[in-house]
Symmetry: C2
Subunit: 452 residues, 2 copies
């Protein structure tokens, strides 16, 4: 596709180029713009029909957008901004350097500019920061026919026309209705008589993850956003919510893997930025393993008496880490979906105790068998009783798995209770704690059983 477009540019077949572009979808055009050589970008953009140009512009990478804005004439910039919805303009402004932002705001209509500034002032990740102001508002005294007139007259500039918001003279939200309901009612019906008055709405300060959970629960097309006096100030549409869900998911996964959240796609992020996002947790976890190191050092005499014990340390710590990670990740996900809550902590602990006991027994039995079959010779060679050593390792395994799962399942709930994001308590964090616990258990059991 890109090849074809580039050939058309080189052969100056602009008529054909324009008609090819007109038949494409905005998201596909945006992907193409992100990949063609820079020198063609502005020329190609000027061939796009006005509306399609703005739609594609919104979908492009921040780099391509910045490149274009810098090259736009004042009129071109004004035209593109005019076609865009306010929430998209805000998204772009948030990615641009200060001088570009200045230029964008200069070419925005004063009224829109003040709305943009309001949205920019809402806290990051709040409902206010992702809403748009282009919604259809109706009055209770209108008839269905009048409502359709209003939609026909103003609908082309609205992000969605399918859910309409009914407000009183003070802009308080008093009801909603849908185009489907309008279509299924008589033209003379009054909006006030048919509207849904039991409206679910969010406050501008609501967290956007909570907003996305509400969308998932109620299957909304759009959700109204109100201020402290329940005056309607904007709406959030389902397409923005899908983006929010994907972003939150990426953030969760990054936190679980001990990475600070990044804002940009991997291939667009510089090695230095990736380094900055990864090194803090690596450093912290490295330094905190000083505990395990100290534990091993203080049992050096025990290890010297039975060198064979050293060989099983990685297996014990690995299994402990994996067991704890399984439990913590399950609970973190349950918390973020709202399936698990603070009040379930005893149920969770009991369930994880059962699971860890089953897992621990299964692993201990298999490990005992394996050690008797495979490692017997090596243990005898180091001067120890293989049955006793296998018993020490298997008992430690059982105790470690139980501890790991109990720590893994309770930490996320406690951390959430303290007001932090439970995602940080996933495997790497749990592993570091469990490593220390499992070593202590190992040495204590070894000293008891082997009398060393």
């Amino acid at each position: 596709m890109i090849e074809e477009i580039l050939t058309l540019i080189e052969n100056k077949e602009f008529v054909k180029l324009r008609s090819t572009l007109s038949e494409m979808n905005a998201p596909d055009i945006a992907v193409m713009f992100d990949e063609i050589p820079e020198e063609f970008i502005i020329r190609l953009f000027r061939l796009l029909p006005k509306e399609l140009a703005a739609e594609s512009f919104v979908e492009m990478d921040a780099d391509t957008q910045e490149h274009l804005i810098k090259r736009f004439s004042d009129k071109e910039l004004h035209d593109v901004l005019d076609e865009m919805f306010v929430d998209d303009t805000v998204d772009i402004i948030e990615e641009m350097p200060a001088n570009v932002v200045k230029r964008i705001l200069k070419h925005t209509d004063p009224q829109i500019r003040s709305e943009i500034n309001k949205i920019l002032n809402y806290p990051k990740d709040s409902a206010g920061s992702i809403m748009t102001i282009e919604y259809v508002d109706l009055k209770a005294h209108m008839t269905v026919a009048e409502a359709f007139d209003r939609i026909r007259k103003t609908g082309v500039d609205k992000e969605t026309v399918y859910t309409c918001y009914v407000t009183d003279q003070n802009r308080h939200l008093i009801g909603i209705t849908t185009v489907k309901d309008l279509l299924l009612n008589d033209y003379e019906t009054r909006i006030g008589d048919m509207m849904e008055t039991n409206v679910i709405y969010v406050d501008t300060a609501e967290d956007k993850e909570e907003v996305s959970n509400l969308f998932g629960k109620y299957d909304f097309l759009a959700m109204p956003v109100v201020d402290k006096e329940t005056r309607l100030v904007g709406i959030i549409t389902f397409d923005d919510v899908i983006d929010v869900i994907q972003e939150e998911h990426t953030e969760d996964i990054e936190k679980m893997a001990a990475i600070l959240p990044s804002e940009k796609p991997y291939l667009k992020t510089s090695a230095l930025e990736i380094f900055k996002n990864r090194i803090p947790w690596l450093m912290l976890l490295m330094l905190s393993s000083t505990f395990t190191q100290k534990i091993i050092s203080s049992f050096e005499a025990t290890l010297a008496t039975c060198v064979a014990l050293t060989a099983f340390i990685p297996m014990l710590m690995g299994t402990g880490g994996n067991s704890g990670g399984q439990a913590s990740v399950t609970i973190i996900r349950g918390l973020s979906l709202g399936e698990v809550e603070m009040k379930d902590i005893l149920k969770v602990l009991w369930k994880e105790f059962l699971v860890s006991f089953f897992c621990g027994i299964a692993l201990a039995v298999v490990n005992f068998g394996k050690m008797m079959l495979v490692d017997q010779g090596a243990i005898i060679a180091s001067g120890q009783n293989p049955i006793l050593v296998a018993l020490v390792v298997s008992l430690t395994l059982l105790a470690t798995v139980v501890c790991a799962k109990l720590v893994g399942c309770s930490l996320p709930i406690l951390v959430k209770r303290l007001g932090f994001d439970p995602a940080v308590t996933a495997s790497p964090f749990v592993t570091t704690i469990v490593d220390a616990i499992s070593l202590l258990i190992y040495f204590v059991i070894a000293m008891q059983v082997l009398h060393i």
Copy 2:
């Protein structure tokens, strides 16, 4: 809320109960039904208005649904099924035991029954398995006014009326139009003249994760599903896609934490099922750590000469695992969002090499300083030169981090290339490989530098 409802039941205030219920939303009613004592369920259900009853029924837990279906009279079951969309009926059938399924199918209209059977036959996770058949279809020769008539007449039974599908006499999909476009055109305009002919559709066999990516890209309300001859067979709506995205998330996270995917919420899953989902990977990873154990055993002589080295094994393996996990999780997420592809493997390797080099140097320098400050005494006590031991550990750290990140970033891409889900190559899997590599590096460097 539940307290209030239970009090109303006990006081037999059925009129008040009915009016309270009528004002609630279906998802909230469903949550309540899942939590009230079983003996009240059917009595309360019978108080719901017909349409709200069906809407709430769809949102309930499988257990509550099964309980209700078993207690429904034939007429009640028929009424509920009649109000439901086919995709919801299919979802419920998939959760029910065979005898309940039989009863459901018996009370479904023959034509719907044959559609249900078709959908049940599409492969799990395919577009066909999540679609519904209730869409508005129009013909190209209709006018806008005729289209509105059709929507008014048939719309109440359709899952969405906002996107309409234009088919020819052989049911081939030839275009789409939206209610917004219908509203913004004159009543005399012919559908054939205003419809969008460049339609994006999916095949029944398409993977549902791919479908959800298309929704994210194109911001669709609904997506048409066609058979091999591009005949329209159904649609997928955005609300089902939000569910798919959430499910895929949970599945990804579970796979990354070495858990087999579960279908049910955590608190509804028995300890035995959780055990079954977690033990296979735990067992496999435990047995595969036999490699690290063998490596340690074969260097037992080296360790005996310098016992201090043992104490740093957990830190080296932990840091290696965390570094590799960071890289693999980043790439897995990039692959699933389509931001990273097979062809980017060299770019990825180079970027990870840079990142790992920066991380490795930073960690090695800090570790060297820390060992000289904190561990010097212990190392001297064990008869070794502290500078040399710190050098060995720091060099190993650098080499381990570089290896871990290169393994971590390339494994997911290779595994995807082989046709498997890259999510299984997250931390636990990578850690096991990196553990072995880091130990080998450790002992080789130790023998070279310390001459042991």
